[in-house]
């Protein structure tokens, strides 16, 4: 075990300076050090997608990234995307369509959905399903999530459902 390393990064637009052990995962750093508990831990081996966050604009599994790797990076979590209103419409569509039950996958699911909608203005259902295929949801069976994302895509491009 080596000693702590100083890192400096932006988290949801705020500058964060911290001293962390090299072995610390980004998700543990966010949850335990910054108390941003909206990012969840489901598998800790990069399969379930519950810990999905944005680093420098790309969605990543924060359980597969070390905190020290985010030195000088910009990290965005569900709290940040909620507070700045970026995904308010998506969240509203999820609420109206009951696209969440227990809600544990939801922050990661929203991150992945917003990533798709930034890449593709009008994804079809198959593309939506494909883009979500790294995010596990045990409750919904996915259909309501696909519906909510489809509705949001339509609304954003001015095509009302």
């Amino acid at each position: 075990m080596t000693g702590a390393v100083a890192i400096s990064l932006s988290v949801n637009g705020e500058r964060v300076d911290a001293s962390v052990l090299p072995r610390l995962n980004l998700v543990d750093f966010l949850r335990e050090h910054l108390k941003l508990t909206g990012t969840h831990i489901g598998c800790e081996h990069g399969v379930c997608g519950a810990c999905t966050v944005r680093v420098n604009g790309d969605i990543v599994r924060s359980c597969l990234l070390l905190a020290v790797q985010t030195h000088n990076a910009s990290v965005e979590t569900i709290e940040g995307l909620s507070d700045n209103g970026e995904i308010a419409d998506l969240q509203s569509a999820f609420r109206e369509r009951n696209a969440l039950q227990c809600g544990f996958c939801t922050p990661g699911m929203l991150m992945a959905a917003q990533d798709l909608l930034k890449q593709s203005r009008s994804p079809d259902r198959e593309q939506i399903r494909e883009h979500l295929s790294g995010n596990y949801c045990r409750c919904t069976g996915y259909q309501a999530i696909v519906d909510a994302i489809e509705t949001t895509a339509r609304a954003r491009t001015g095509r009302l459902p």
């Binding site: 909206g38 969840h40 039950q101």
Partner: protein, 797 residues
């Protein structure tokens, strides 16, 4: 995609202006979860909280000769290393049996193993440290000397005389056996024109809740009270069990359950490591947190469905089914789980086989055996998928044998919708089911004839698609017959308290719990509708043994039917109390007043008389202005338990349309349909989403999910990369329809819907695969239907 109710009329107390009953209103307070502001147990931190990590056995069966924790205790941050023997000074062992399951036996189980481990993953020591990482560092340095013992893994040989007995004190490896014989089975088989037999094999699988099991136990020595924060479906059950085994009174234990990251029955039990965490908190006099990691979850969350069931059906040439017979064998691991026991699933299989059909001739045997694998117990739709797959598989085999269409044989044998009340061959009482209406409806929804035509056309082009149908019955709203009669302190009644606050808001405390199904929503819908207020005025409190009425919680599809009725009855009383006060204030009569849109109005002309906020102000702050002698009571509590029927059975039917790639063995799901009847529908969107989620869990079992053990009892795929489960890309859209037959047991009329999807999905998919493969003359009766299983059946590998 939208659901439709055939019979939308509701009951009088609910059929009020602006009623929320039957409306797809969004669940309250979802923004917390959507914005990452939920409070799951894994999020909870308390002052002086320590973290526990368990050292777990790498062997399926071994003696523990020595545990050396000296190096671990020297590690930074390590507070304590505790063995099973040390912990047994604080917590007593338990035996997972219930008296109504006659003959069920099990051995005493400890919170942490003492002297011997019986499955790979059983905890043998606890390492408590200031952080989880430090506890893991410490656990790596605990040195254990094991002496491996012979393992029992194959349930088929578990009862052989040559097989070692896991618990010598029990005499053999048979945990439970049930034999049932109804009607005249041998005679019925002799009258059949054809008989078909098959052995159905089910893969052992597990719940894979996205949030692993988690608990924070906080023993406050100064208060002599233990607060348990746990993602559980049954807080009062946890309170009872924790108190019992820690030598406390129930009043010394508070169980708090906020957000729960998925449960599905996984979190309705009490696990040894959770018991150990409670005990460690008491021992160390500080809060202790346990969050299972994913490997631990696979090794210790209950598994389910490890069954091999031989089945036999007799059928006449006109399609009449003459009898069913089954012989079910299931392996439950080394202990019967506590406190619900591990005999319930096999018992349910016996109860449910043949349930949708007219024939009364039914013989069954179920045997439950011990083995050195992880424990098995109740998981969503307990026993239903086994019973449904066996029954519906046999019905399809019978239809094939006599050359009858699979819809037609069901039409001829399903109980007629006017044939109720009646009883099943296993003695279950049905109040009112709707198999025939459901069958007719699903045939319309899927356009059955068109699909058959498409199937025939594609077959000529060597494209192999299949249609699978599965009717089912579902156990919901269980009374004390489920657990209470067997001696378990698991409540079958639920309570709701509602009160009107000064500003006209309503606080509602309920003993049912929320794991995402919508307990909070349905409770608020009922309270708002019955009282006459808008839903945003209703705040629902659940999941806290100190602050809710006593009750069972949410499991076995009981929340809406039992907790919902308690909410209805409590709110009726509050409504009456409010109208009595209003009449006194307004010098009117209660019968002339109503509550609509947050205000008291005249029944006759709807004219507003007094706002509830004004009534609240008077009652709480100016009672001196009320007429003499009046003591307002703006809080009401009611409890409910079904008394007439032990269970409110529901029914439904599912259909699957899929394509089998005969070159690769892959299955592509094209469409799935469900028609179900849960009685009064409180929120159609929530019901439909329960069903869709349940279907996908059933599809997981049908196609992907299996805990793969080797012959040494090692679980070889205990991670989310090797254990496959349904992801968005492979799942079909699912159309849901309804038939509505309210139960007359309650004013609400609601039955459950939580098991329906999981109950029949695997049967529908398996029947569809066999339908697709019909040209190849092969029948598959094993799930999961992996490419290997398909290609093997086709003789290609």
């Amino acid at each position: 995609m939208t659901s439709e109710a055939e019979n939308p009329e509701t009951l009088s107390v609910l059929d009020r202006p602006n009623s929320y009953i039957g409306r797809a209103v969004p669940r309250p307070n979802l923004d917390r979860l959507l914005q990452g502001r939920g409070l799951y147990v894994s999020d909870i931190e308390l002052p002086r909280m320590a973290h526990v990590v368990f050292v777990r056995s790498p062997h399926a069966h071994a003696k523990i000769n020595r545990i050396d924790a000296s190096a671990a205790k020297q590690m930074p941050g390590v507070i304590a290393v505790v063995s099973g023997r040390e912990l047994s000074n604080v917590i007593t062992p338990w035996v997972g049996v219930l008296s109504h399951l006659k003959g069920l036996k099990s051995a005493p189980q400890n919170a942490i193993a003492i002297d011997r481990v019986c499955w790979q993953g059983e905890a043998i020591a606890a390492v408590v440290a200031s952080s989880r990482a430090q506890a893991e560092d410490g656990a790596e340095l605990v040195s254990v000397e094991y002496e491996e013992l012979p393992v029992v893994t194959d349930m088929r040989t578990a009862l052989d005389p040559a097989t070692p007995v896991i618990h010598a004190s029990l005499g053999d490896n048979l945990a439970f056996e049930r034999i049932h014989d109804a009607g005249a089975v041998d005679h019925a088989f002799s009258e059949a024109d054809e008989m078909v037999e098959a052995e159905f094999v089910f893969g052992r699988h597990t719940g894979v809740t996205l949030e692993p099991r988690a608990v924070v136990a906080d023993w406050n020595a100064a208060e002599a009270r233990l607060t348990i924060y746990q993602g559980t479906q049954a807080p009062h059950m946890v309170q009872n069990i924790a108190a019992l085994h820690l030598g406390l009174r129930e009043s010394q234990v508070r169980v708090v359950c906020k957000d729960v990251g998925g449960s599905f029955g996984i979190k309705v039990h009490i696990y040894a490591d959770e018991m150990a965490t409670y005990a460690l908190s008491k021992l160390l006099r500080r809060p202790v947190k346990f969050v299972a990691d994913r490997v631990e979850s696979f090794n210790t969350d209950i598994h389910a469905r490890d069954h091999r069931c031989k089945g036999k059906i007799g059928v006449k040439r006109d399609g009449t089914i003459t009898a069913f017979e089954i012989d079910d064998l299931t392996g439950i691991g080394p202990y019967s789980m506590y406190p619900r026991t591990s005999a319930i699933e096999a018992n349910q299989v016996v109860n449910l086989v043949g349930g949708p059909y007219v024939t009364r001739n039914y013989r069954a045997r179920a045997r439950v055996v011990f083995q050195n694998k992880n424990v098995m117990c109740q998981y969503r739709a307990v026993g239903h998928p086994i019973a449904c797959s066996v029954t519906e598989g046999l019905v399809d085999l019978a239809a094939m044998k006599i050359g009858m269409d699979s819809v037609e044989i069901r039409r001829r044998n399903l109980i007629a919708d006017d044939g109720y009340p009646c009883a099943s061959p296993s003695g279950l009482r049905f109040e009112q089911l709707s198999h025939q209406a459901a069958l007719a409806k699903i045939v319309r929804m899927m356009d059955y004839e068109a699909l058959r035509a498409e199937q025939a056309a594609l077959r000529k082009r060597n494209v192999h698609r299949g249609i699978g149908i599965a009717s089912f019955i579902e156990v919901t709203n269980p009374s004390a017959a489920f657990y209470g009669v067997g001696g378990a302190k698991i409540s079958s009644q639920d309570g709701v308290a509602v009160r009107l606050d000064p500003q006209g808001s309503v606080i509602c405390q309920t003993s049912i719990t929320e794991q995402g199904q919508g307990s909070e929503a349905l409770t608020a819908q009922i309270v708002a509708s019955v009282l006459g207020v808008s839903m945003d005025r209703v705040r629902v409190i659940l999941g806290d043994t100190d602050n809710t009425p006593y009750g069972g919680g949410t499991w076995a599809s009981r929340g809406a039917g039992i907790g919902g009725e308690a909410a209805l009855q409590a709110t009726k009383v509050l409504r009456k109390n409010i109208l009595d006060i209003a009449a006194a204030i307004l010098q009117s009569a209660p019968g002339e007043l109503d509550i609509v849109n947050n205000r008291v109005v005249n029944v006759a002309d709807g004219a507003p008389r007094i706002e509830l906020s004004e009534l609240g102000r008077i009652v709480y702050f100016r009672p001196d202005t009320l007429p003499p002698g009046i003591q307002p009571e703006l809080m009401a509590t009611r409890h409910f338990v079904p008394r007439e029927y032990p269970f409110a059975f529901t029914n439904g039917i599912q259909a699957s349309w899929l394509e089998v790639d005969i070159e690769t063995g892959f299955i592509k799901l094209l469409k799935h349909w469900v028609v179900e009847d849960c009685g009064t529908i409180i929120n159609p969107q929530l019901v439909d989403e329960q069903i869709r989620g349940g279907v996908v869990q059933g599809i997981g079992a049908a196609l992907f999910e299996k805990c793969v053990y080797d012959e040494r009892g090692q679980l070889t795929n205990a991670n989310m990369a090797d254990y496959l489960f349904p992801m968005a890309g492979e799942m079909p859209d699912i159309d849901v329809g309804h038939v509505v037959s309210p139960t007359m047991e309650s004013e609400l009329g609601a039955k459950g819907a939580g098991e329906a999807g999981t109950a029949g999905a695997a049967a529908a998919v398996t029947n569809a695969v066999n339908d697709a493969l019909r040209p190849f003359g092969t029948i598959i009766t094993e799930i999961p239907l992996t490419p290997q299983v398909i290609l093997t059946a086709l003789g290609r590998i």
